[in-house]
């Protein structure tokens, strides 16, 4: 081991030095790499499948849209039960006493039912007395009554039909829900809901949290992602749309989602599919730290000595002296 005070001249003392042109090497690398990258860009292009809009969702799968919106009112969607940072529903992941998801509370507060359904309908009720009356009826109803309407309407949606883009269900006691949902569907199909979920009272917007949470609650976006092999169980985080490579460098992170205990309901040592995200974040943090600390970890730092790959890399150095001298 060299001393920190040792100069390069002392470190390399007695070792033959040969000419080297750093600038030339870097220039050649820049030019060569540029040529290869330009050829790849011209020949293979890059992926760009257009984004899904809420309007497209409502137009192409109106039953899924209405079912999701109804579930928001019933409090049974993923976002409604998520917990921090969106609400206090208590759906956070934990591992024993470790629950970093709750450490910072509801920093991005979102009331899904109100944000995704009620408030957009209030905005759309201007000049629409039928919708205004339905919203008033919904607000005045007891929680039990609302729950009954949602349950009955959700059951009926299982056999719903679609005519001219409108969702029709069998006759029943659904309270104001059919009027509310058909109005919300109309607003969504026209593209209005894309704007209403984004605006949030300001003109310039770059935050799509509400829109993406709402779409994530439905089955349309995940269905398209499943067809494109983008979901978590399909190694999705390292895939891309089309035939393009994705974030292939995330292969190890993605791999953990495919193997026990992170695919198991029962799990091991408290880690299971229910807290897979937290478990994998902790595991990858530990592995990344271990990679950084390889020089300090006995065993890991010794593997290069045991595996003779270095003898291929430095084969000239390890060549018998007589052969090396003959080449010199």
């Amino acid at each position: 081991m060299s001393s920190p005070k040792q100069t390069q001249e002392e470190y390399y003392g007695g070792i033959r030095m040969v000419p080297y042109d750093l600038i030339k090497e870097l220039t050649l690398a820049m030019v060569g790499f540029g040529v290869v990258a330009l050829i790849l860009a011209a020949a293979l292009s890059s992926p760009d499948v257009p984004p899904v809009t809420i309007a497209a969702w409502a137009q192409n799968d109106p039953v899924d849209f209405v079912t999701t919106a109804t579930a928001e009112l019933g409090g049974s969607t993923t976002s409604e039960g998520y917990g921090a940072p969106y609400n206090n529903a208590g759906g956070e992941q934990s591992w024993g006493p470790l629950a970093p998801q709750v450490w910072f509370g509801q920093r991005i507060p979102i009331d899904s039912a109100n944000a995704f359904v009620i408030q957009p309908l209030k905005d759309a009720s201007f000049g629409n007395p039928d919708l205004g009356t339905s919203l008033a009826t919904w607000s005045a109803a007891s929680s039990d009554q609302q729950t009954k309407w949602v349950a009955a309407y959700t059951d009926a949606l299982g056999k719903a039909t679609v005519t001219d883009g409108k969702v029709t269900v069998a006759t029943g006691d659904y309270g104001p829900l059919p009027t509310m949902m058909n109005n919300l569907l109309g607003v969504a199909q026209s593209g209005g809901l894309d704007g209403l979920l984004l605006v949030n009272g300001r003109f310039y917007q770059t935050d799509y949290t509400q829109s993406l949470l709402f779409m994530g609650d439905g089955g349309y976006l995940s269905g398209l992602a499943n067809a494109a092999n983008l979901t978590g169980s399909q190694w999705g985080m390292m895939n891309e749309t089309g035939q393009y490579p994705g974030q292939t460098w995330l292969w190890l992170y993605t791999m953990w989602y495919q193997v026990p205990p992170f695919t198991s309901d029962t799990g091991f040592l408290g880690l299971s599919a229910h807290n897979a995200d937290l478990g994998i974040v902790i595991l990858m943090t530990v592995l990344t730290a271990a990679l950084a600390l390889v020089p300090l970890i006995p065993g890991l730092r010794d593997i290069p000595r045991w595996v003779p790959i270095h003898r291929l890399i430095w084969r000239q150095y390890y060549a018998p002296k007589s052969k090396a001298a003959a080449r010199a």
Binding site: M1, I15, M17, I23, D48, V49, T206, L230, W249
Partner: protein, 224 residues
């Protein structure tokens, strides 16, 4: 015939007007420190040990070249705005250049990492160089991740919806909201590239300061 034995250069003679080593000037002390830690013939060497002859040594410099092309194409994309490449064929080509440069950047960075691992490149006082290299790898992954989130297309949408759960479960989702395009785009085009570039410069300075590590074990013999 081109080989030569390293000869220690004589120190340049100090002029009578030059400050002494006890000069309290911060500027003078900083310059002396830089001269000692990274003299120009270490920063831009024109000779190197004869054993530096493998292609493994080229992976690092190709990674630097890739980073330069990633930054160049990224600067054009950010100057023209996030919508440009969706609407323009030239913009799409520049995005493709950015895309493939990133793919190759990671390919050569991983090859460089594994090469350095099997050469045990952290030996002889180079542990910090290795550690900064791993940090560069991690920050590069974060930078690429924010890039995928900033694409404004279907892949970006689903990556955001899918990835939020890991971010939230780890606690950082409260501050690093992958569903917020503005936040991800700002991090991707400004803070994270500056971080990667700064770390790469530090990594290169450390490599050049100490030089390449010696092979494992004695010359012409076993590695034990």
């Amino acid at each position: 015939m081109f080989e030569q034995t390293l000869v220690t250069r004589p120190a340049p003679p100090e002029t009578p007007a030059a400050p002494t080593t006890s000069d309290p000037s911060w500027t003078y002390r900083t310059r002396r420190w830089i001269d000692r830690v990274l003299p120009m013939d270490h920063l831009l060497p024109h000779r190197q040990p004869y054993y530096v002859g493998s292609w493994v040594y080229v992976f690092g410099v190709i990674t630097i070249a890739a980073l330069a092309w990633v930054v160049l194409s990224g600067v054009i994309l950010s100057f023209m705005g996030p919508q440009w490449w969706h609407d323009s064929s030239l913009g799409h080509f520049v995005n493709s250049l950015h895309f493939w440069s990133v793919q190759l950047f990671f390919l050569f960075m991983v090859l460089h990492l594994w090469g350095q691992y099997f050469m045990a490149g952290w030996r002889d006082g180079r542990a910090a160089t290795w550690m900064i290299g791993v940090v560069i790898f991690a920050v590069s992954i974060l930078t690429a991740f924010t890039g995928y989130l900033s694409q404004q297309n279907f892949a970006a949408q689903f990556i955001a919806v899918n990835a939020k759960d890991a971010m939230n479960a780890g606690g950082i989702g409260a501050f690093f909201n992958v569903l917020n395009f503005g936040q991800m785009y700002g991090l991707h085009v400004m803070l994270l590239p500056i971080g990667v570039t700064f770390l790469v410069v530090a990594h290169i300075v450390m490599v050049r300061s100490r030089g390449v590590v010696k092979p494992i074990g004695p010359e012409g013999g076993s590695a034990k």
